[in-house]
């Protein structure tokens, strides 16, 4: 188990290297640069040349990349071109906000999906089941920016119930409601369907009949015998769902003006702020790899047939 974990962590090195290489190539392949301005606000050529030299953007690309890597392994991710502050500092400011939003949304998604999926499976073709199907269809088909705008209009503008700009100090509950709910929705929808399907499958298994034949109460049969088996496939989906939350947060943070790294990411791409693009992409890649690793470790704990081996 320890060996396995170490091996998986070591495997992150090539993963992150290729993520860095691809991101670097794509960012520089995109037309334009960090100092482009409107025609009438254009910087004098001399200043632009100086800036380009200052940020090392005049070097050949492979050399830039290697220089970047050399610093990145020492956890020095350079300086933001736009903000003139170190990337580490900027990310340290935004990450807690994004992390809080993401974790809240993931917990909310699980809190909705697990009970709803289980009840839908137990009461197949009932009102609850159709209700959850309706919700799941909406959650997966309507893009979150459409739902977000709808929510902002209804709850923010029309009913004036909830604020919809900014994040505050992270303790303002009312401000978190809309972004968290909207971010959680697609994941909740997907996880509900998975939970329902795997619960239905578990309930039809022979060992559930065996459990009933022992005279166990229905609640014990469902929780001890069916649910534990049904959760195994659900757990594997939580990894990809985390990735979904991260990409979802780009949109949600931008729409609700939340100062997290999702919004930062979008802004820095538009501004060709190469150091921030690189650092945030690497951070996201790192988080997704960690999420998948934790899922694999949890999977081994849930299913005794899976032995994590070195």
């Amino acid at each position: 188990m320890v060996n396995y974990t170490i091996r998986r962590v070591l495997l992150m090195v090539p993963t992150l290297f290729f993520v860095a290489l691809i991101t670097f190539s794509l960012a520089h392949a995109a037309p334009g640069g960090p100092f482009d301005k409107d025609e009438n606000k254009k910087l004098p050529q001399q200043i632009e040349d100086n800036l380009t030299r200052y940020y090392g953007l005049d070097e050949p690309l492979p050399q830039q990349f290697l220089l970047y890597l050399g610093k990145a392994v020492q956890l020095d991710f350079g300086k933001s071109i736009q903000r003139n502050r170190s990337v580490n500092e900027i990310i340290a400011q935004g990450l807690p906000v994004t992390a809080q939003l993401g974790i809240q949304a993931l917990l909310l998604a699980l809190l909705i999906a697990l009970p709803l999926g289980i009840v839908s499976a137990l009461k197949q073709n009932s009102g609850v089941d159709y209700g959850s199907l309706f919700l799941a269809t909406i959650g997966t088909t309507i893009p979150s920016f459409v739902i977000a705008i709808l929510f902002i209009y209804i709850f923010g503008v029309w009913l004036r119930l909830l604020p919809f700009v900014g994040w505050g100090d992270g303790l303002d509950f009312r401000r978190m409601i809309m972004p968290t709910v909207i971010l959680a929705l697609p994941g909740a929808a997907f996880l509900t369907r998975i939970t329902r399907a795997s619960m239905l499958e578990a309930l039809g298994q022979d060992y559930v009949r065996t459990a009933r034949s022992k005279g166990l109460a229905e609640g014990t049969v469902i929780i001890r015998h069916a649910l534990k088996n049904a959760l195994i496939p659900v757990a594997t989906i939580v990894g990809p769902a985390t990735a979904g939350l991260i990409t979802g947060s780009f949109i949600i943070e931008t729409l609700f003006s939340i100062p997290g790294i999702g919004r930062l990411y979008i802004i820095s791409i538009n501004a060709r702020d190469y150091p921030i693009i690189m650092a945030t992409t690497l951070l996201y890649a790192f988080l997704i790899v960690i999420a998948n690793l934790s899922v694999d470790l949890v999977y081994g704990a849930l299913d005794p047939r899976i032995k994590v081996e070195a």
């Binding site: 060992y207 005279g215 534990k228 005794p304």
Partner: protein, 347 residues
């Protein structure tokens, strides 16, 4: 002897999109305490559904017990509320299922699965039930039972898993064990071991059991009486020796013909029963076996025969066949010497 179990006119049906499947269609039988009974028939003739009905384990919907009485220890199981039925399941009546590979929960340890019923019905605490579980596992012949308590089912072989199932069934000293094809999923050598184990344990504990199988060879040495089922009906009832010596239903003859014999010459081929069991949504109007029966006459297609005593046989020998009833045309036919070749009756 007072009857432990009395089943009267049991009907279990499944309500499907294509129609009502009459899986068990008027089955009656009795079982005394400590008695052993074999229920034999091919797949889809209602054996398993009969067993599941006894414990009210028919999945509902689509299944439903629509008619009949199941008197267990004098009380009708079908009139009990859910709590009372649960009090009987695993306690007074236990069941051993066909496939030990899928009938044990893969994510729970063996000790958890065996001790569950002990804690529930015998009100043992964790320690007592663990101790008892070790005893039970030793009883069913699991080597070094103590060290295997916390193993999971996938760490056991098929035969060992079926032993665990038997330990589970025995755990609360049931009065009746229902064994539904307990050896079908196992290797032949393991089959014999498991059957021996079942037989010895039932004798030791004076447990009545019903052994359900499609293999007449399996019940031969195991049970005192045999009921042959076909198309949701019992078609022949007799005690085991009588049934093998003097079978009185063409379906039973067919089953006997399809068993390989050690004293058979090599040239002889097994003779299978041609065709398939009847569609239980729209069963044949007359005898349900008539479409596959080589001995049938017009009456067989027209009127369903009743289960009646066989003439010149042991008292409790009954058969559901026009031909072997008093005055029938098969009363003197001996299936062993009969040379009529079992030909295809219907395409």
């Amino acid at each position: 002897m007072p009857e432990l179990l009395e089943v009267r006119d049991l009907h279990t049906q499944f309500f499907t999109r294509d129609g009502i499947v009459r899986a068990v269609d008027g089955v009656s039988f009795t079982l005394a305490a400590g008695e052993t009974l074999g229920i034999v028939g091919e797949s889809g003739c209602g054996k398993s559904v009969t067993a599941l009905s006894l414990m009210r384990l028919i999945p509902q919907p689509p299944g439903k017990i629509t008619q009949g009485e199941i008197l267990f220890d004098g009380r009708d199981v079908l009139k009990m509320d859910d709590d009372e039925v649960r009090g009987i399941r695993g306690n007074a009546i236990a069941m051993i299922f066909q496939d030990p590979m899928t009938s044990l929960n893969p994510v729970l340890t063996i000790s958890r699965q065996v001790s569950e019923a002990l804690e529930l019905h015998l009100k043992m605490d964790r320690n007592e039930s663990r101790k008892r579980t070790i005893e039970l596992l030793e009883l069913v012949g699991i080597p070094s039972a103590k060290s295997r308590l916390d193993d999971y089912p996938h760490q056991f072989s098929g035969g060992m898993r079926q032993r665990v199932m038997i330990a589970m069934a025995l755990s609360c000293n049931p009065k009746l064990i229902l064994a539904d094809e307990p050896t079908t999923a196992l290797d032949v050598t393991i089959q014999a071991q498991i059957l021996d184990l079942l037989k010895n344990l039932a004798r030791e504990f004076r447990t009545a059991f019903i052994l359900i199988t499609h293999d007449l060879g399996v019940v031969a040495g195991m049970t005192q009486r045999i009921h042959v089922m076909y198309g949701g009906h019992i078609v022949e009832k007799a005690d085991t020796n009588e049934l093998f010596a003097n079978p009185k239903h063409p379906y039973t003859w067919g089953l006997l013909r399809s068993i390989p014999r050690l004293d058979q010459t090599r040239r002889e081929k097994l003779r299978p029963i041609e065709g398939l069991p009847p569609d239980l949504i729209a069963p044949p109007p007359g005898c349900r076996f008539a479409p596959r029966c080589q001995y049938k006459r017009d009456i067989c297609d027209e009127k369903p025969p009743e289960l009646v005593a066989v003439p010149n046989a042991k008292a409790d020998h009954e058969s559901r066949c026009w031909g072997t009833q008093t005055g029938g045309w098969l009363t003197t036919t001996d299936w062993r010497t009969d040379t009529t070749v079992f030909t295809k009756v219907e395409a």
